[in-house]
């Protein structure tokens, strides 16, 4: 005889069958039935202070573990609070499963208390979503949601379950892999690249004199960092790692040019502009990377490897499109290259190109003006100290803005999955909850969040969650008392007309706030104090730590390609302007 369960029991058991170890959430009216069987479950539930926090925690967890993050919240306002994390996960291809309560089926469409059209609202920001109308369907819908979230191009899925469906009884079953596939006839991601295209790509690679490996987040999603390294070393082709791919290739590697794009290194930006072949691996020609598309890498042929066929030709038409999983395709590409080399083909000499690139790297390192004695701290200085003091393998998380760009620039990323940030959506407030999720996923690692004072004030309440749940994250606020990136744009592009951008240099008191949330709070005003504060923070492992670095308010991020301009128009740090012609 089949075992009878309630829909709620089936939901929790289905999550256990999907090997969910932890979920982030906050209960309320319509999801209440699901919280009851949770009491007997092996799943750890982390009670957040705001549903947006649950979503970003699930994302942070997924970023560092590669496993789907799970967030469970109630209907209406809770579901709308989950919208931002879902959209964030959609833009950055993060595997995540959202579970929302819904008003009882009979009340749907009546504007019932805490009702909203959750599947309608989230349709365009999830890879797939489903309103479950029958308790019997719950196991299949859960399996589909996890399957879709984690395969192909990963992304968020959402399951919306009315309260009565959670309460109704069902006969427990667990669908087989084949049953799941049969239920999704329209979902068959292509993972294996086309052999002929891969061979064609190998030929182009051997013929290129100025090639660049343009590596995006897809390489991390495909767990292809080892394959990428083998490809780069075999061909001696320099590598740029986009904001979403930092850590996919070690920054210390002689072939690594760092980050391209609006605030990328002058070397990475220029090398792409001058390239004759861009090998795009899991990258999507984002506007922050290409600058003005018509002026982007004008002489380059394009090999575009992506598991999502819709990315190919979306921005720039590839000469060789390859639809497939980056790891599998890169491995096949390496084989094809070796075959060609063994059959006597020769690779074009990339030596002159590499020395030209090295020249740029020597001439145009990242640069900032050290602060004079008694003057305010420099954010870049704080990052150098944080980086140098961090234990090996530290995971660094950031919010969105100047501090994010400086972190990406100044941190040394040596391993994959040590960098967590909001790239596509640019969600301010991402850092604190995402760092908590990352620490939950990798409790063995030190997790530093580098945050801005504007970002911190959006989601700081989750540090209460972290204190109570004993999740000892460390937060470095680069506090310039401004919405720094907005200030930078107003200074540079709006004639220094500062509009609604100052956040106050006195309020809040971040140390007191940290302490009120159960954290250790430390304030740093002087460069001399930075190292000691960082050492102290690194030594605390029983609670969260917040370090409030009071940094110079007028510091700007360089290099910079102004929005909408060609990458050739890159603005350098003033100390490098005189040698600009070397970039020609």
């Amino acid at each position: 005889m089949k075992e009878q369960l309630t829909g709620a029991q089936a939901l929790i058991r289905a999550l256990e069958h999907e090997n969910v170890e932890v979920m982030f959430g906050l209960p309320g009216g319509c999801i209440l039935p699901a919280y009851d069987p949770l009491l007997e479950s092996s799943i750890r539930h982390i009670l957040v202070r705001h549903e947006q926090g649950a979503g970003h925690m699930a994302e942070g967890y997924a970023h560092v573990t590669g496993r789907p993050g799970v967030a469970m919240v109630t209907s209406g306002p809770a579901a709308t609070n989950l919208v931002t994390p879902l959209c964030d996960a959609y833009m950055d291809s993060i595997p995540m499963v959202g579970i929302t309560g819904q008003v009882p089926t009979a009340a749907i469409g009546t504007d019932a208390f805490q009702e909203c059209d959750t599947v309608g609202i989230t349709r365009s920001i999830t890879k797939h979503n489903e309103l479950v109308m029958n308790a019997q369907d719950i196991p299949m819908v859960v399996r589909q949601a996890f399957h879709i979230a984690t395969t192909g191009r990963p992304g968020p899925t959402l399951i919306d379950i009315p309260k009565d469906v959670l309460q109704n009884s069902m006969d427990w079953y667990w669908p087989s892999d084949d049953e799941v596939l049969d239920s999704l006839p329209g979902y068959r991601p292509n993972v294996k690249g086309h052999t002929k295209m891969i061979k064609e790509a190998a030929r182009l690679i051997l013929a290129a004199r100025q090639p660049i490996l343009y590596v995006g987040g897809g390489v991390l999603k495909a767990r292809a960092a080892d394959a990428l390294r083998e490809l780069a070393e075999l061909t001696q082709i320099p590598v740029v790692t986009t904001l979403m791919a930092r850590g996919a290739f070690p920054d210390s590697h002689p072939l690594c040019l760092g980050m391209p794009g609006m605030h990328g290194t002058a070397t990475a930006v220029t090398a792409m502009q001058k390239s004759d072949l861009l090998i795009a691996l899991g990258s999507r020609f984002d506007d922050r990377v290409t600058g003005k598309v018509s002026g982007f890498a004008p002489d380059a042929k394009i090999i575009h490897v992506d598991i999502d066929p819709a990315e190919q030709g979306k921005v720039r038409r590839p000469d060789v499109p390859i639809v497939g999983d980056c790891r599998l395709v890169i491995e096949e590409m390496i084989k094809a290259l070796k075959d060609l080399l063994q059959s006597g083909e020769q690779q074009a000499d990339v030596g002159p190109w590499r020395s030209r690139v090295s020249g740029w790297r020597e001439q145009f390192p990242l640069a900032y003006d050290q602060s004079e004695a008694g003057a305010a701290l420099k954010p870049q200085f704080c990052l150098e100290k944080l980086r140098d003091g961090a234990p090996d393998g530290t995971i660094v998380v950031s919010g969105v803005g100047q501090h994010q760009m400086w972190t990406s620039q100044y941190w040394n990323f040596e391993e994959p999955y040590t960098w967590v940030n909001s790239g596509g959506l640019g969600t301010m407030g991402f850092a604190v909850p995402a760092a908590i999720g990352a620490k939950v996923g990798r409790p063995d690692k030190t997790v530093w969040a580098v945050d801005g004072d504007g970002c911190f004030q959006m989601t700081a309440q989750e540090l209460v969650t972290a204190s109570l749940e004993k999740i000892p994250v460390k937060i470095a606020i680069l506090n310039n008392s401004y919405l720094g990136m907005v200030r930078q744009w107003q200074e540079m592009f709006y004639g220094e007309r500062y509009s609604e951008v100052n956040l106050s240099g006195t309020l809040p008191d971040f140390v007191k706030w940290a302490e009120a949330m159960g954290c250790v709070g430390i304030r740093v005003d002087d460069p001399q104090e930075a190292e000691a504060a960082i050492d102290k923070a690194n030594s605390i492992n029983d609670r969260p730590v917040v370090v409030d670095f009071r940094v110079a308010e007028d510091e700007k991020v360089f290099p910079m390609v102004p929005a909408g301009q060609s990458n050739d128009e890159i603005l350098l740090h003033h100390s490098q302007n005189a040698r600009r012609e070397f970039l020609r």
């Binding site: 879709i148 329209g186 979902y187 991601p189 819709a310 190919q312």
Partner: protein, 185 residues
């Protein structure tokens, strides 16, 4: 709707035949995708197929708004979309239905009945000073019929939008079939 013969011969318009799983919200997913990506739909017809699990949506898309390739790739990303065929007007059979209520005086009624016979249209309803007629045919026949009716004055009309299937004799070459194996992620 603009212009003469909006379908077929005009290269701006292409016909997509989209097989979808017959599930709640599937039409909303398809239309929301077009709206979200800024693609224009010229006409759209949807109904269940011979197989209860599937519906077929025939969409006439306007290529001014985006390249066809990007539209179909984005459409493929919807989990409920099983197959997309682009139907070439030269190798497919196309039909559309129009119903129109036309103002007509008793003296003119005879002319209108004759016109209806010429087009092989049907008279569905007769009023004292109006007739409701219907015609199914190729989009260009519908256009011609509408032009003819306009002389009398159309009170109200409704076109169904195009539906189409590949021509049988040349079925193999008539559509660019995107098999599920080529599905987007």
């Amino acid at each position: 709707m603009s212009g003469n013969n909006p379908y077929g011969q005009d290269s701006r318009h292409h016909v997509l035949s989209v097989l979808v799983q017959n599930r709640p919200g599937v039409l909303a997913r398809v239309s929301a995708l077009f709206a979200r990506r800024g693609y224009n739909i010229f006409s759209l017809a949807v109904a269940p197929t011979e197989h209860a699990d599937y519906s077929r949506i025939t969409i006439v898309v306007d290529l001014e708004s985006a390249p066809l390739e990007q539209m179909t790739k984005q459409l493929f990303k919807l989990v409920d979309v099983v197959r997309i065929s682009e139907l070439d007007p030269r190798h497919s059979v196309e039909r559309e239905l129009i119903m129109a209520t036309v103002k007509v005086s008793p003296e003119q009624r005879g002319q209108l009945v004759e016109l209806t016979n010429i087009f092989e249209a049907k008279i569905l309803s007769v009023g004292t000073d109006a007739l409701t007629v219907s015609l199914d045919g190729s989009p260009s026949a519908i256009d011609d019929f509408m032009t003819a009716l306009n002389q009398y004055g159309i009170v109200e009309s409704q076109r169904t939008g195009l539906v189409a299937l590949p021509k049988l004799d040349r079925a193999a070459s008539s559509r660019t079939e995107k098999s599920p194996q080529g599905k987007a992620s």
